[in-house]
Amino acid sequence: MKVLVIEDSERLQRSLLHGLKSSGFAVDVVGDGEEGLAYAKHGVYDVIVLDLMLPKVDGLTVLKRLRASGSDTHVLILSAKDQVGERVEGLHLGADDYLTKPFAFEELVARIRALIRRKYDAKDPVLRAGPLTIDTARRTVSRGQEPVPLTPQEYAVLEYLVTRRGHVVSKSDLLDHLYGGDGAASENAVEVLVHQLRKKVQTPGSPDIIETRRGFGYLIE
């Protein structure tokens, strides 16, 4: 799952980047509204975390222009502005959620996950793929009653493929949603990750849960 954070506080950028990555999100962080708008328009994000008081272009203008461009990416406003009128204005302009600073990091992550579920029309945080049960709230995977231990990146791949059940997900798409725009990994790393994931979730003698469509990508039916 890929998140864009548009926040001008460098210290908040650092903690959010670290925390969200550690929570399994691919994260891009930008520090002003102009750059944030460019990222939001040209990148593919599941959720945009948007501060309001931003240099160059303020957050509400970013939101307005984003919606005007036809983008329906879920936007969570993260702002120190706490007045009802300010929150209502943000929601009226097309934000999907509003969280005031200071905030609990766990709550931010939970709200991002809720927005992602909404995006994929999955109200139930528990997803199923064959014999696997994926609890997106607890970030756990089990086969029947037996837990399947996955690394955060393996879990992210599985969750991403399951939320796009029935759609082929390309390696570059996976790469982008796993590592964001930092260019720290290649498609080979994705292949290795998928291989490791298959070994952990596959039941011997059963058909592959994760199918490979050569030249296109991966698919979970």
């Binding site: 001008d8 506080s9 210290r11 908040l12 650092r14 903690s15 959010l16 670290h18 925390g19 550690s22 509204g33 309001l52 008081m53 931003l54 240099p55 160059k56 303020d58 120190a80 502005k81 706490d82 005031t100 600073k101 200071p102 905030f103 609990a104 990091f105 766990e106």
Partner: protein
């Protein structure tokens, strides 16, 4: 006591006194006049009787009184009376009215004045009456007075006062009754006039009573108020406007403080939660600690500035004025090397060196941080008469008149999102507060070319003409207006 009651009391008493005095005057005038006419009638009656007496050389000769012509002197019920005496008091047998009978006499008094004199008397039948008495010398038939030998007679005519008293009683009843009614009507009129007159005041009072902290935007409206109340309403509304502005400033200040604290607290909390949740990433954790340290330092600066601001506003911040070399103060500031300094070496000002340094550092920091397009910052100072003028000048983004007024407001920033990192928005507030404390003056202007000018002016050091050190500044109301400063070319 309320205005209504006081006015009611005073006006009612005043009207009542006026009406009573008027009634008394009318009663007295009428009584005197009616009594006078009554007396005149008595005198006329007496003169008529007098003409009936003729004197000849032998003395009192003829008495031409005919009772049938004067029935009122003869009747038995409520008659009039007359009686004639010799000047020695001897009553004349014939000179008396039939109503006196044979023995009764009128209460003659001793005066022998020839001018008719009237008095209240008790009549022989016991009634109250009015009598006229005068002395006269009977007239001879030839019309000449009998003065040398003539006898002086005394004539008294008396009449009952029933009709006079009846008329006077009716008159008094009418006058005092009318007075009483007039008093009541006046009181009612006064009451109505007061109620009507005070109505605008009550309307204003009701509007003022309805005011509270949440609706200070309301204004007192009294379009029907008399012109005397217009200045009061005007001043009241002006006071409300000032109060509203003050409340609004306080609200903004509280909001700004809360907002200024939200972001660093959010940063601290996020750093603490993320660092605590994934402590195994030592490099990030170390960086988080550095961030926490930096944030706490920034918050500490805000708190210190706020406390200083509060102490300045409360007038409890201590300071000590002494000679201060202005150029040294300017040159010692961080960032001074990026400023064109045009301050004479010998410019010594009367100020607190620490506080003045804070003022200059904030002005330079503000100019360097907000200069447009990295434009030049100049610090220019000069002496004008007994004062110094220090200008910090930089090109800046356009500022409206309202922006210029708001510059000294705590936490005010034209564009909060565009504020440079580390600026809380307290710098110019502190400059203004510190300058006020030291007795300096501060002004912010921007010319048509976008050049922003922060000006501080104050007294030059003058060891012969200044108060002792450590004394508090006392505003000098006689201080001359600031001379227009022109930069040296």
């Amino acid at each position: 006591m309320s205005i209504r009651r006081r006015l009611m009391l005073v006006l009612s008493i005043g009207f009542a006194a006026l009406i009573v005095l008027t009634a008394l005057y009318v009663e007295r005038t009428t009584r005197v006049r009616v009594t006078g006419e009554f007396d005149a009638a008595l005198v006329a009656e007496a003169r008529a009787l007098q003409t009936l007496i003729a004197e000849d050389e032998s003395g009192f000769g003829e008495w031409e009184y005919a009772p049938e012509c004067f029935p009122h002197f003869e009747r038995a019920e409520k008659p009039d009376y007359f009686q004639i005496w010799l000047s020695d008091g001897t009553p004349l047998q014939l000179g008396r009215s039939g109503s006196l009978g044979a023995d009764a006499n009128l209460p003659r008094w001793g005066s022998l004045s020839k001018e008719p004199e009237t008095r209240d008397v008790r009549l022989p039948d016991g009634r109250s009456g009015r009598a006229v008495q005068y002395a006269f010398v009977p007239v001879a038939e030839d019309g000449k007075g009998f003065a040398p030998k003539g006898r002086t007679l005394v004539l008294m005519v008396a009449r009952g006062r029933e009709r006079l008293d009846g008329f006077l009683a009716s008159m008094r009843l009418a006058v005092f009754g009318a007075g009483a009614v007039a008093t009541l009507l006046a009181a009612a009129f006064v009451w109505r006039a007061i109620v009507s007159g005070l109505k605008p005041i009550h309307a204003i009072a009701a509007q003022v009573q309805a005011l509270h902290a949440d609706n200070l935007g309301a204004r007192v409206s009294a379009p029907e108020a008399p012109s005397e109340l217009a200045p009061i309403v005007q001043q009241l509304n002006a006071l409300l406007a000032r109060l509203e502005a003050s409340f609004e400033r306080e609200r903004r200040f509280a909001g700004h403080v809360a907002h200024e604290l939200r972001t660093p607290i959010a940063e601290l909390r996020s750093l603490a939660e993320v660092g605590g949740k994934w402590p195994e990433d030592l490099a990030s954790t170390r960086r988080f600690f550095a961030d926490v340290h930096e944030i706490s330092g920034r918050m500490e600066r805000v708190v210190v500035d706020l406390l200083l601001l509060a102490r300045c506003h409360a007038g409890v911040e201590k300071f000590e004025c002494r000679p201060v070399a202005l150029r040294q103060v300017v040159r010692s500031q961080p960032g001074a090397d990026r400023v064109a300094i045009e301050v004479p070496d010998d410019l010594v000002v009367d100020s607190d060196p620490g506080k003045l340094s804070l003022i200059v550092s904030n002005l330079l920091d503000n100019a360097l941080s907000y200069r447009a397009n990295g434009g030049p910052v100049r610090c220019v100072a000069a002496a004008r008469d007994s004062r110094f003028v220090l200008d910090v000048v930089n090109p800046a983004e356009p500022l409206s008149e309202e922006d210029l007024r708001n510059l000294a407001e705590p936490f005010w920033r034209k564009d909060r999102a565009r504020s440079p990192e580390g600026h809380s928005g307290l710098g110019l507030s502190l400059v203004t507060a510190l300058a006020g404390l030291l007795g300096h003056e501060v002004g912010f202007t921007q010319d048509g070319t976008g050049v922003f000018r922060a000006r501080v002016s104050g007294r030059l050091w003058n060891p012969d003409g200044r108060p002792k050190l450590s004394q508090r500044f006392v505003a000098d109301p006689d201080r001359e207006p600031e001379p227009e400063y022109k930069e040296e070319s």
